[in-house]
């Protein structure tokens, strides 16, 4: 088991390398010259060339990548082309904000999905199953930005209950330790949670109703186990597949966070990325993409390890 974990952790190295290469390349494949965004339209060519050389953008691509990677490993993500200051401090605070939002949204979505799916699966084909399934389908179909705006209109504009944007009062940083800050978290989390909740609901519903029709459930009933005893078995059997689906939803969560953070002006990596795209701020763009991707890789690894440890049928060699 330990050897297995070690090996899975080692896999991270080549995956991360590949991810960083893709992040680096994507930016360069994209059309548009970053220098154009920095300088006045009538700047002389020599100045542009000097600026280009200053940022190392005149080097061949592989060299650029090598230099970039070398710095990244040392924690130097370069300097923002727009703001003119190091990317790292901004990146750290943005990552923290995204982490908080993704965790709350993810937790909310996955827990809701498991509970709804479990109930719908046990009472398959009853009215409650149909209601929950309708809610799940609606959840999957609603776009983030639309739902975010509707929630803002209802709860912020009309009811004036919750803040419409930002992470804390007066532009303060994210925190989860006082109600004044938690208020800011509610609407973005709900918006982010809706799609994973819908997908997990549908998966868990199918899983649970499938498990309930298995022979071993009949055996358990035949042993005289009461309802709560049987539920334990259902959960243990549904857990590995549910976790796998949750792992896949992490990608959705990352993608969703970009939209949600933009709608709610949430100061996270998503918004940072969005801004960087529009401003062609290449170092910021590369850094945020890399962080988001690595975030995803690590979460997937964790899901995999948990899944392996709870399912005896997966060989752990």
């Amino acid at each position: 088991m330990i050897a297995y974990i070690l090996r899975r952790v080692l896999y991270i190295v080549p995956i991360s390398l590949a991810v960083s290469l893709v992040c680096f390349m994507l930016v360069h494949i994209a059309p548009g010259d970053p220098i154009d965004a920095m300088v006045q339209p009538d700047t002389p060519k020599e100045v542009i060339d000097r600026v280009r050389a200053e940022y190392g953008l005149d080097q061949p691509l592989p060299v650029q990548f090598g230099l970039w990677l070398l710095k990244v490993v040392q924690g130097d993500f370069g300097t923002s082309l727009i703001k003119g200051r190091p990317v790292l401090p901004d990146l750290i605070s943005a990552s923290g904000a995204t982490f908080v939002l993704a965790c709350t949204g993810g937790l909310l979505g996955f827990v809701t999905g498991c509970v709804f799916g479990g109930i719908a699966g046990v009472y398959r084909d009853s009215w409650i199953d149909r209601v929950l399934l309708a809610v799940a389908v609606a959840g999957v179909s609603v776009p983030h930005y639309w739902l975010g705006m509707v929630l803002v209109i209802i709860f912020s504009v009309n009811l004036n209950m919750l803040p419409a944007m930002g992470a804390g009062p007066g532009g303060s940083a994210v925190s989860i330790f006082d109600w004044e800050h938690i208020r800011y978290l509610i609407l973005p989390s709900i918006t982010l949670a809706v799609i994973p909740a819908g997908i997990v609901t549908r998966t868990v519903r199918g899983l649970v109703s499938d498990i309930m029709s298995q022979d071993y459930i009949t055996t358990l009933r035949g042993k005289g186990l009461r309802r709560h005893g049987i539920v334990g078995h259902v959960v243990r059997n549904a857990a590995p597949t549910t976790l796998a689906v949750i792992g896949l939803q992490l990608a959705n969560l990352m993608g969703g966070s970009i939209l949600v953070e933009t709608v709610f002006a949430w100061p996270g990596t998503g918004m940072m990325l969005n801004t960087a795209i529009f401003q062609r701020d290449i170092p910021v763009l590369q850094a945020t993409t890399l962080v988001l991707a690595l975030f995803f890789v690590v979460l997937n690894l964790l899901v995999d390890l948990v899944q392996t440890s709870i399912d005896p049928r997966i060989s752990r060699r």
Partner: protein, 344 residues
């Protein structure tokens, strides 16, 4: 001297499965008695209602689809009116069940020891650790080699024979008065099947359990049963002692089944067959359900359902014409093959 109450008593037991598309009348009036310590085989083909009858004895048919009516008592419990709460303390303790496919009937993500222990924890009020110890003794009782190691094994890590032994250990863990067995050897290899049959016979005698054993295999019934009941289209068509039924079946279907069973000494001959196939239980059946396939059927056979009439020596048969056609029932005497195998 009054006879003791039978362990199982069913009268006019009906089970139907209701769905949006159709109602399947799977069991249509079964009468059944089983004494303590007796082994009854219910013999029948797929769709005969044998498994449904068995499951009805502990109300294991899907609760939201199966409709049960009639009288049914097991070890003094009225299984038709019993509350869910009481039912769960009868199941596994007084009556338990083993299934055809031990691979799917055991929970794949729980160890064998945990699954056996679970029954003990539920019914005997003992702790996990003590249950584990008892589970070990049970695995030894069902002759699982290196039992201690197998306690920690998951079902997929065991062979088919060992899985079925573990299933049996689980079923007998609380020393039930009645063991229900739903084709427990059908999925096993021949050399393993006979081991499991012998084990069940031995445990039945040691524990004095009543056993109802469902099978489609006449040979298996011959190895284990005291009595045989033959089912067709949801009804009993013949019942009697194992020797009587296997030597001289009275019902044309039972006779046909015996004739169609391939065994030694038939080489180069055509097998006797029962023409056609069993009826579709989604549609109502007029008269004797076997009449369309019966070589002795008269027009009157389709007029009404024949009664399940008691005959001499504890036998019963559901046929209008069993006396008239009895002349054709004699089978050649048994003969011995070179291996000392006795065949009919």
């Amino acid at each position: 001297m009054t006879a003791p109450a039978p362990l199982v008593r069913a009268r006019d037991l009906h089970v139907s499965f209701v769905s949006r598309d159709a109602t399947v009348k799977a069991v249509n009036g079964v009468d059944l008695d089983l004494d303590a310590g007796e082994v009854l085989c219910i013999l029948g083909e797929s769709g005969s209602g044998k498994s449904v009858t068995l499951r009805a004895l502990m109300r294991l048919n899907p609760p939201n689809k199966a409709v049960v009516s009639g009288e049914l008592s097991v070890a003094g419990h009225d299984m038709v009116t019993i509350s869910d709460r009481q039912l769960s303390s009868v199941r596994g303790k007084v009556v338990s069940m083993i299934f055809q496919e031990p691979m799917t009937a055991l929970d794949p993500v729980y160890t064998i020891g945990r699954q056996i222990g679970e029954t003990l924890v539920r019914h005997e009020g003992i702790g996990r650790r003590e249950a584990e110890q008892r589970a070990l003794e049970l695995l030894e009782l069902v002759q699982i080699p290196s039992a201690k190691r197998r306690l920690q094994a998951y079902p997929h890590e065991l062979s088919g024979g060992l899985r079925q032994r573990a299933m049996i250990a689980m079923a007998i863990s609380c020393r039930p008065q009645l063991l229900l067995a739903d084709e427990p050897t059908t999925a096993l290899d021949a050399t393993v099947q006979i081991q499991i049959l012998l084990l069940l016979r031995q445990l039945q005698q040691e524990l004095g359990m009543g056993v109802i054993f469902v099978t489609h295999d006449l040979g298996v019934a011959g190895e284990i049963a005291d009595r045989i009941a033959v089912m067709y289209a949801g009804r009993m068509v013949e019942a009697g002692s194992t020797v009587d039924v296997m030597r001289g079946p009275l019902h044309p279907y039972a006779k046909g089944l015996l004739g169609a069973t391939v065994h030694s000494g038939l080489r180069g001959t055509r097998l006797t067959t029962i023409p056609g196939s069993p009826p579709d239980l989604r549609h109502p059946i007029e008269g004797c359900a076997f009449a369309p396939r019966c070589p002795h059927a008269l027009e009157t056979c389709s007029a009404g359902v024949p009664e399940f009439r008691p005959m001499q020596a504890g036998r019963a048969v559901r046929c209008f014409r069993s006396e008239e056609i009895a002349g054709a029932t004699t089978r050649p005497p048994s003969r011995t093959t070179p291996q000392g195998v006795l065949l009919p």
